[in-house]
């Protein structure tokens, strides 16, 4: 068995090598693994938009493939290896839970290049990338504090990982910059994509009296509930205005296209390197959807904040900031470094809920 497998592997390797050298005009094969269905109109949908942007930009020079709804458990490694085995040169694994499987497969296929979204482990052939979505959250916080009459927002969280906790904190810091007494109620649904659960959580929050809603999950369901119940909300990952024409105030849009095109180009040029890219509004990885359903001055202020963050004049995590328990975290004028942001596992002062630990 072992011997046969060894032979097969050698043969496959030989084939792979010869394909790489002799047939230079072969299209570059680029693969994607999505955690949800591409029809989620959120996270996976936006990654697929990025994939389509690659196809459009490079035409015949590339060939793209994707596998959708790959669960973050034992199936992930097989799905990734399947792409690596079938001649893909560059593979994007687009969810945090694919981190260790990506590293494992990357070790076995040193000639294939991997890009893992939102993780922290890198290798010579594994780069990581992510968006500074918290920048958008800060803007949402300011808008929410100006729009909400009750001063209470509902926040639907997926999993209490640093990425999500950072978003809640940034939102609250934005809101507190307008109204220091602003409150947030959080519900965790323990899923990235579960429209039913997300909608239930949204309804529960509305019943508890929140009048503005936002979410860190992937479907438009919470926003649709906001629309039905006549309150305001924000789109997540994607511009969701068509699902909630009266309720959406803006949306944090993930725009992976430019980054994906840049990375494919790098592989084509032979200049691809590992490392980490964490881009925000400045790198166009994060966009704000048009500010709608808002008074003019609020929209203008939001645009101003957006410009300040983009230019680097404003960092959402600038001291003085205390932790939830009142202990000091950042001194006056001190800006949180990326390491602290990436591993964030505490709430800032002013959030009443307890962080699930």
């Amino acid at each position: 068995m072992r011997k046969i497998f060894g032979l097969a592997a050698t043969a496959a390797l030989a084939l792979g090598l010869s394909a790489g050298t002799s047939l230079a005009e072969d299209p570059l094969k680029v693969g994607f693994i999505y955690v949800g269905p591409i029809s989620d109109h959120g996270w996976s949908y936006q990654h697929d938009q990025g994939r389509q942007a690659i196809e459009k930009h490079f035409g015949d020079k590339v060939e793209t493939t994707y596998i959708e709804s790959v669960s973050e458990g034992p199936d992930a490694e097989r799905a990734i290896e399947r792409l690596a085995r079938s001649g893909h040169d560059l593979i994007f694994t687009t969810s945090f839970g694919y981190m260790n499987p990506t590293i494992k497969v990357a070790k076995k296929y040193p000639d294939v290049k991997f890009e893992h979204a939102t993780g922290y482990k890198q290798a010579d052939n594994v780069a990581t990338y992510g968006g500074r979505f918290y920048e958008g959250r800060y803007i949402l916080g300011q808008i929410a504090a100006k729009t909400s009459e009750k001063g209470v927002a509902g926040y639907i969280g997926s999993f209490p990982i640093p990425e999500v906790v950072r978003g809640i904190n940034s939102f609250m810091l934005g809101a507190q910059s307008v109204n220091p007494d602003f409150k947030v109620k959080t519900v965790w649904v323990n899923s990235w994509y579960d429209p039913g659960k997300e909608a239930d959580a949204a309804k529960a929050l509305v019943d508890q009296g929140v009048d503005i809603m936002l979410q860190h999950t992937d479907s438009p369901a919470p926003l649709q509930v906001a629309q039905e119940r006549g309150i305001k909300g924000f789109g997540q990952a994607s511009d969701m205005i068509k699902f909630a024409p009266e309720a959406q105030l803006t949306a944090i849009v993930d725009d992976w296209g430019p980054y994906y095109i840049e990375r494919v180009q790098a592989v084509l040029d032979g200049t691809w390197k590992g490392g980490d890219t964490w881009g925000g509004l400045d790198k166009e990885m994060v966009h704000m959807a048009p500010y709608t359903n808002l008074p003019e001055d609020v929209a203008a202020d939001a645009a101003k904040t957006e410009a300040a963050i983009r230019s680097g004049d404003l960092h959402p995590f600038t001291g003085p900031i205390n932790k939830q328990d009142g202990s000091a975290w950042l001194k006056e004028g001190e800006v949180a470094d990326d390491g602290a942001l990436l591993g964030m596992n505490f709430y800032v002062e002013g959030i009443d809920d307890k962080l699930p630990q």
Binding site: F5, I38, G73, P74, S86, G97, N190, G343, P356
Partner: protein, 363 residues
């Protein structure tokens, strides 16, 4: 007029053998129609689904990796279902097995050597048995419905896992991300071959043979079947009703628990919030697809595994969406179960009878 299913007086032995093949044939036909409708060459699609995964050692090994936990859990469940104990909570027993087994690599990672792995497996089995003993206790002591209790315990187990990997068992070097430390080499399941295939496959095979032997060659097997079909008759024969509840829950819990720790130490290499794509629930389908017969379950597990692996292959080679592949999997299951039903039952058209009580009649 309405349709009724009527039990056949006797069923054809020939059809019992032919029916799975018939079902596969029917799903190929129905599937082909669907593939044509979405503009995919049906021959290519069927090749990608059923043949391509069997053509390379890698995908054969992957097939074993995917099917082994299904078979192992389903064999345990078959003992439950045959004895009329409805353990729906194998997913929770799987999770508890993974948690108990992981006590060693997470908390006592210094305990290495050849004994570490067997100890983990025993702990895993104990974890699964412990979790299965709760519905068994509630059923024997209070007459609680085990379908409900075993199912609810799944969610509890998943939340315990979630709590552990986010809290006390979180990897100290993991930047606060929800996962345990990566297991040491001594805590990783023995591998078979160069790929991902590990010793879990052997456990599944041993379980199939052991349960087959028990069911067909021993008094215990007879007892299980009698207590499932006519518990009153069984009690006259001196079989204990409570005893069989405990026995079937503990054995299926142990198998699910072993599957859990084997999956975590063999395939994933650490505890994460999600450790199973629903193996414990899919195994229920596998158990019935295999007609609660261990040998049948082995083939059913492989067939279901093949349809997953093939579905993924079809996504890559033909650019199909996962919706299409899951519709095709659904068709396959539908035809297999429908064909099986028609071995035991026949369909008859009944004319409504104009009697006074007719309106209340139910079949």
């Amino acid at each position: 007029m309405r349709l009724v299913l009527e039990k056949r007086a006797e069923h054809s032995r020939l059809m019992t053998v032919v029916s799975p093949l018939l079902a596969i044939g029917l799903s190929l036909i129905a599937g082909s129609i669907m593939f044509v409708m979405i503009g995919v060459n049906p021959a290519e699609a069927i090749y990608a689904f059923f043949i391509e995964p069997l053509t390379s050692t890698w995908s054969l090994e992957e097939l074993v990796v995917k099917s082994a936990p299904l078979v192992l859990i389903a064999v345990g469940l078959s003992v439950c279902f045959l004895s009329n104990n409805w353990n729906i909570g194998a997913e929770g027993q799987f999770t508890m097995g993974a948690i108990f087994g992981s006590i060693i690599p997470v908390l006592f990672h210094g305990f290495t050597g050849p004994l570490a792995l067997p100890a983990m497996i025993i702990m895993g089995a104990l974890g699964g048995m412990f979790w299965a003993s709760i519905p068994a206790f509630l059923k024997t002591r209070f007459g609680t419905n085990e379908i409900l209790t075993s199912l609810m315990l799944v969610y509890i187990a998943q939340y315990i896992l979630d709590y552990l990997v986010r809290g006390p068992w979180r990897d100290p070097d993991g930047f606060n991300f929800p996962e345990s430390r990566l297991y040491e080499a001594d805590h990783t399941m023995w591998m078979l071959g160069d790929g991902r295939m590990h010793f879990g496959a052997i456990f599944a095979l041993v379980a199939v043979i052991a349960v087959w032997f028990m069911l067909t060659k021993t008094i215990k097997g007879f007892e299980i079947k009698v207590m499932g079909q006519t518990p009153r008759a069984g009690q006259f024969a001196g079989f204990s009703r409570k005893g069989i509840v405990w026995f079937s829950f503990l054995i299926s819990g142990a198998f699910a628990g072993i599957a859990g720790i084997v999956e975590v130490s063999g395939t994933i290499g650490q505890l994460t919030p999600v450790i199973s794509p629903g193996y414990g629930f899919t195994a229920i389908i596998v158990a019935f697809l295999g007609r609660l017969n261990p040998i049948g379950i082995l083939f059913a597990g492989l067939l279901l595994g093949l349809s997953y692996i093939g579905g993924e292959a079809a996504q890559v080679t033909l650019g199909m969406t996962d919706k299409t592949t899951s519709v095709f999997q659904g068709m396959l299951l539908f035809f297999v179960l429908a064909c099986d039903t028609l071995i035991l039952y026949k369909v008859r058209l009944v004319k409504p009878q104009p009697t006074a009580g007719g309106a209340h009649e139910r079949v």
